[in-house]
Symmetry: C2
Subunit: 304 residues, 2 copies
């Protein structure tokens, strides 16, 4: 139990669980990272995970408010919440908090995800990233990319998300790598900056069109000796990231200034290289803004 | 043993084995389809498959010439043969036959695959489809599509393949369906012509660009209630076929007349629907032209 803590933040994803104790300035004064991703929770035993992780901060369950975000609010999570339409920032997310009192007496505010309709009416959704963006407290109008299994390209004005576009890049990378004719093994994964860059350029070509053909050429080029098959994974990674950038360019063409890369170190570096190859400006932001976002949302909701 | 037969054709793929006995006019006078795809052959026991399947036509091994085509000439097949560059038709394929005398005394002519360099230098390969195209004996200049795991778009003039473009459509369909967030089950596979058509139109949009985003919208649309998630597989199929058609349109823009669909019945019907949705002319050809192609190649090689 800590007397300094005023808020517990829980960032709960499919395969990850992180919690933080924050003081009245929002500074993190306690942390726990656990292997309690949603997929590993048996029989909906969500609260017992909290018992094991944050109870020492609470003294008694319910003494501190909890804010939770991430896939914990999806259909396969603890409390399913509806998507909030854009535009939305900390204030709208605070207004849409789903408050849930648990059997043990905890009060949890679940941050919901966002939906967006593209100009052509096509749908998009996010869950978790909205809290990270709120935590960055961006000024002006910015375009941020959040690389990952489902990369998000987010247009933000004065900290509010105006719209976003998802690309299934990481998900497709994994599926193509392991479950198509490429069937890459570790022998096909030699690091190669040159192969990655060549992939980026190929992916970007024709405004990102032709992907079904470009993917096969990774196979054909290896067979015909155009490149060392050991670099195929790097080429594939570059190809998909290049295609993603080409696709997303048309999403917010009017936003000036560098693209803000919000992601873990290795993936952020990969995207920074891709932008550099393409002669586009980019800069990186702290990836770990989820707790800061939860604090802002809690403030806007009057919880701290 | 049949006195009428003058040639044995073997169409040998990764998961299929078909053989035919042909008379001096090329007519098929005997057939065998077996579960002896290359993947099922143990310890390189290729000849024992022939012993089990075609020996009754031969009387003694070696009495009749054999022509083999398909993945049997790939690295994982019986005799690996190098790719022959385009343009190539029956005459060039005959000239490039790899003749192999087996321990049992059979003489087999292995038909090799083709390679092609696109205008931008990018590589492409095929193995097996060249024999089918030779069997169709097409006149004039035609654009043919051969749908499948790796769909081939083939430009043919006077029966010779001038160039081709591969799209990894079927391979990506299977990988996305089973190994991404979509994870489609049989419950997601309700037949729906409407969903398929909507997918085709979406895939074709923006000249086939934006695929990484379009794929995610199959997920988002299901979550937001835009469509019945049970139709997701149909939408995905349409999306990828639409993207493939958009990509391939730029491959041979000068070829006039209907696109020739060369494929099995179900897949050919799916592509015919897609072309119809897009207002493009198409017609179907017999898919089963491999033996006819082998006969033409054998003729050109002086074997019959």
């Amino acid at each position: 139990m800590s007397d300094k803590g005023v808020l517990i933040g829980v960032d709960w994803g499919t395969t990850s669980f992180r919690a933080a104790l924050m003081d009245e300035s929002g500074a993190i004064v306690g942390r726990v990272d656990g292997p309690h991703g949603l997929l590993s929770v048996q029989d909906r035993g969500f609260e017992s995970v909290l018992d094991q992780t944050v109870a020492s901060w609470e003294g008694r369950p319910g003494r501190l408010p909890i804010i939770a975000s991430g896939m914990v609010t999806s259909r396969t999570g603890w409390v399913e919440t509806p998507y909030l339409p854009c535009p939305a920032g900390a204030a709208e997310l605070a207004g849409a908090l789903t408050r849930h009192v648990t059997p043990a007496g905890r009060t949890i505010g679940f941050v919901t995800g966002l939906s967006f309709r593209h100009g052509d009416g096509e749908p998009d959704v996010m869950r978790g990233e909205e809290t990270q963006i709120a935590g960055l407290a961006l000024e002006g109008t910015r375009l941020a990319v959040m690389p990952g299994t489902h990369s998000k390209w987010v247009r933000v004005t004065a900290g509010r998300i105006e719209g976003f576009r998802t690309a299934m890049t990481g998900d497709i990378f994994a599926a193509v790598k392991d479950h198509t004719v490429l069937r890459l093994t570790t022998a096909d994964r030699r690091p190669s900056a040159e192969a990655f860059s060549a992939g980026v350029v190929a992916g970007m070509a024709d405004h990102g069109a032709g992907l079904l053909g470009k993917l096969f050429r990774l196979r054909a080029g290896g067979l015909l000796g155009d490149f060392d098959p050991a670099t195929t994974a790097e080429r594939l990674s570059g190809l998909l990231i290049g295609a993603e950038i080409a696709e997303a360019r048309s999403f917010a063409p009017d936003v000036e200034g560098p693209v803000l890369i919000v992601g873990g170190e290795a993936l952020a570096a990969r995207y920074a290289t891709a932008f550099n190859v393409l002669g586009m400006e980019a800069e990186t932001a702290p990836a770990d803004a989820a707790f800061a976002g939860q604090f802002r949302i809690a403030q806007a909701a009057g919880l701290v």
